[in-house]
Symmetry: C2
Subunit: 407 residues, 2 copies
Amino acid sequence: MALIVQKYGGTSVGNVDRIKNVAARVKEYWQQGDKVVVVVSARSGVTNELIARANALQALPDAREMDQLLAVGEQETIALTAMALQSIGVPAVSRTGAQSGIVTDTCHTRARIADISGGDILERLDEGKVVIVAGFQGRTEKGDTTTLGRGGSDLSAIALAAALKADLCQIYTDVDGVYTADPRVVLAAQKIPEINFEEMLELASTGSKIMQTRSVEFAQKYNVTFEVRSSFSAQPGTIVKANAKISEGALIAGVALDRSQTRVTVGDLPDNPAAISAVFDALGDCGLNVDMIIKNLGTDGHANLTFSVGNDAVAQTEKVIGDALKRLGSGTVRSTHQVAKISIVGVGMVSNTGVAGTLFAALAKVGVNPDLITTSEIKISVAVEPDKADAAVRAIHTAFGLDKKTA
Amino acid sequence: MALIVQKYGGTSVGNVDRIKNVAARVKEYWQQGDKVVVVVSARSGVTNELIARANALQALPDAREMDQLLAVGEQETIALTAMALQSIGVPAVSRTGAQSGIVTDTCHTRARIADISGGDILERLDEGKVVIVAGFQGRTEKGDTTTLGRGGSDLSAIALAAALKADLCQIYTDVDGVYTADPRVVLAAQKIPEINFEEMLELASTGSKIMQTRSVEFAQKYNVTFEVRSSFSAQPGTIVKANAKISEGALIAGVALDRSQTRVTVGDLPDNPAAISAVFDALGDCGLNVDMIIKNLGTDGHANLTFSVGNDAVAQTEKVIGDALKRLGSGTVRSTHQVAKISIVGVGMVSNTGVAGTLFAALAKVGVNPDLITTSEIKISVAVEPDKADAAVRAIHTAFGLDKKTA
C-alpha cells in the first residue's frame, strides 16, 4: 500500500480506447490498496489543433489567452479519465491545475511552479478515491490560468509527488524506459534499470527526447525517485534516483545523439571579456541555449567564437548576435553547417581515467574526426558530421561495453 | 457610452471566421466608447462531440465530471475571441465562469446561479478593455466546475447584465428577433419591435425556440431589458422589457406552435385529491412538465386525467406514472397520439373580451376542432391534429390582424 503518482502522456490518452487502458492499469494499483493520483496530458494532437486555431486569429497570440486556451486540452482528459474509471467501478474525481492548488508565477506559456497545496487531494485519497489531475497547468496567485511549457505534465507529476510525499512517481510514456542509446540507431542498446539524476539530466539535455531537463532538475532538487515506463506494456521501466545502482565496470550510462544542431561562428570579435559577454548576455536575455562553445584567437588579435545551437533557434540566434555586434561596432556572425552532437554520460567517468581515450579511439575506428568538444564532470560531447553520426554512436556503444549480450 | 453585455451563441462563434465577425461587431461598440462584456457559448458542435466521448466511456456519465468536461467548450471560445479582438487592435481579456465569480449551487449539469461577484470585470472595463466571459458555466462555493444546462449562456449574459448593472443586454443568435409566428410557417409573420417579459415567457414555454424560460424569468425578476437580434445582420431585433409598447389594437403579441407533444391519458384513477396529487407529485419529483391538463369523471366514479407532454419525455412519463399507479393499486396510463400545441399570447388579452371567440372562429374556418384547451391570464393553448397545425396557425395569425401589410 503506497501513495503513487502516475503520469500518462498524450499518446497514452490519445483516444477513448487508450483512456480505457489507462483506467484498467490504474484499477490494478487501486485494487491492491494503493492510493493513486493520476496526472494526464491532453490527447495527442489536441494542443496542436488549438494552436492552429489561435494562429489563424493572431500571428503571435497573447500569452495569457494562449494559456486559457491550451488548458482545455488537459481539462477534457481528466474528466474522460475519471469517467473511464467510474465505469469500471473505481471511484474517481478530477481536478484541474487550479483546483489542485498548483500555483505558478505569471510567466504565461512557460510558468514556473511556485507552490503546490494539493487542494483536497489527500482527503479524497483517504476516502478511497482515485484523483485525476490535469498536468501542464496551474494558476497564478490572482487566478489566471497558466501552463508550464514543454514537458509540463511530467513536471506536474513530479511536483505533486514531492508535495504529497508520494512513495513512487511513475512517468508512463510511449517508450519503455531509458536506453543506453536510441534503439532505432543501436540495435544492441539495452534498457537501463536504474540511473542517477545527474545522468538523466545530461541525457535529457543532450538529445534524449524522453524528458525535459526541468522535470529532472525538479526531481533531483526535491529527491523524487521516479520511474519512466511504457503505458503499452507491463514491463518495468527505468528508475531515476539518487545513488542509483551502477552495473559493475560500466564507465558510462549511455550515449545520446542530437542531430538537430547547427554550428555558428562569430568572427572578428574584439578579444576582451566585455565583448564576449555582450554576445552571451544577448543570447541569455532571449532564452537561447548554446552549447559546445570554443574560443579561438585569430591572427589579428581578434577572437572567433564557435558553438552549436538547435536548428530551430538558428534564425533568432543570428539576429540577436547581429544586433549585439552592431552595438559593439565589430564582428560577424554566420551559421555554417549542421552538426550532430554525440554525448557520452555517466557518473562512472568521475573516478575513471581513459574515458576520453576510449571515445576518440572508437571515433577513429569509423573514420570520424570530431569537431567541437566539450566536457563536464560526467559528460563528454563531440560534434560530428551528421551522416557519420549513426556509425559513430554504434562504435562508441560497443567500445564502452554497452552492447546487449546475445544468447 | 453605455455598459453593454453581448451574448453570442454557438453558431455565431462556430469557426474562426465567425469569431472574427463577432470581434468586428464588438469593436464597433468599443470604438464608440461603450464598455462591452462579451458572453460566448461553445462553438456549435463542440458540446455534442464532448458528450459523445463521454458516452463512449460511461452510459450515464457522472454529472460532476460531465461539467468539468463540458466547460472546456466555452473556455476555448473565450480565448479565441479575446485573440480575435486583440488582432484588430482591441484590448481584450477572457474570464472563465469561475474567474467571473459566477457561483452556483451544486446541481451539476443544471446548476442555478447563487451569486455573481463579477470578479474584476468592472476594473478591466475601466481600463478600456473588452472582457470576454465564458457562458453556461460557473463554480460551486467549493470550487467545483458547474454548468447551467440548456440555454445557460443566455442566463449567464442576463445574470451578468443584472450584476454589473448594464445599460443593455444583447442576445445575438441566428434569428433576427421575435416574430408574431414562425416565419417558416406564416410567411406574413412580422418581427415584434418590443415585447413584455410575460409574453416572452409564455412564448418561450409554448414552443418558441429562441430562449429558455429560465433566462426570461431571470430577466423579469431582476428587470433586465434585453434585445434578441441576429449576429449575421445589422438590423435591430426585438426588445424584451417591462411595459413594452404594444401596437395599437393588438390583442395578442404572437402565435406559438409546438409540434412535439403527445397526449397522455391516465384512466381509472380513484377520484380523490390524494390519488391525483400522487400522480402529479411523481411527475414533479422527476422534473417532468406536463401541460393542458384536463380531468374527466368516468361513469363508474373513477376519474380520467388527460394532458400533453413533450415527445422526448413520454417514455419517462409513462414509467413514472406507472410506478405511482402501482403504489395506488389502481389506474392505467397510455399515451395515444401526437398533438400540436398552438398558443396565442398577449398582455392585451387581460382587458379584452372576445379573444377566445376570435380564436375558435379562426380554427373553425379551417375545419380544426381543438382538443385540450387551457388558458392563463395572457395565453390560450389548444391541442390540434399535427397535420392541420400549419393551416390553423396561419388562420389565427390572420384573424388577429398580425399579417404583415404588403405594399
